[in-house]
Symmetry: C2
Subunit: 114 residues, 2 copies
């Protein structure tokens, strides 16, 4: 997965566990795509300081995922829902009993994940 | 929701953020259903100490949920999957196009949640 997308996803799940200061800086870097220099100027800290803070946030968010695996669980469920969508979109449509049994199977897998 | 079930669910999601000592005691209380007195004897601490530790773990896990809402998101998805199952189990079966459109609608709702 693209590094920036991964960071945004981890932030979406665990961002509230960062401090307000960390959230402010990290959001500017990850979500608003400002440069380290721009963020540093606005926050009145050094470019290196911003860099270190971003790296620390990356590590913290990654550590939450290593402990909780919730992003990974959510992504698995999301993929399975997309599989259901593909089955629904098949043309020509499956026989109704085949369709039901395929969706039932995936929904079982999702419930095991939840 | 039943208090013990809620505690077990929060522990399932966020338990790894507790310390090893907290996990050990909390699991004995929540999952193994030992009494405060039994846990206190095994751990060599007071009954009050066990009580305080359990209460602190309850608060900590609850605070994670207030920040992250991940249990609530998972429960919502779970309910929606059960709705899909109900549609699949309807007898007599719906017309295939109705069935597909109903499941598509719920899967859209799930994707918004993920």
């Amino acid at each position: 997965m693209d590094e920036l997308l991964k960071q945004a996803l981890l932030y979406d799940f665990y961002g509230e566990l960062l401090t307000d200061h960390q959230k402010e800086i990290y959001e500017q870097f990850i979500l608003e795509d400002l440069s380290l220099g721009e963020i540093a100027r606005d926050a009145g800290i050094s470019r290196q300081g911003v860099h270190d803070l971003v790296k620390r946030c990356d590590r913290t968010l990654q550590e939450y995922e290593e402990k909780l695996h919730l992003v990974s669980r959510f992504l698995t469920v999301k993929e399975q829902i997309h599989k259901i969508r593909e089955i629904l979109d098949q043309e020509p449509a499956e026989d109704i009993s085949v369709l039901k049994s395929e969706i039932r199977k995936i929904s079982d897998e999702i419930l095991e994940e939840l």
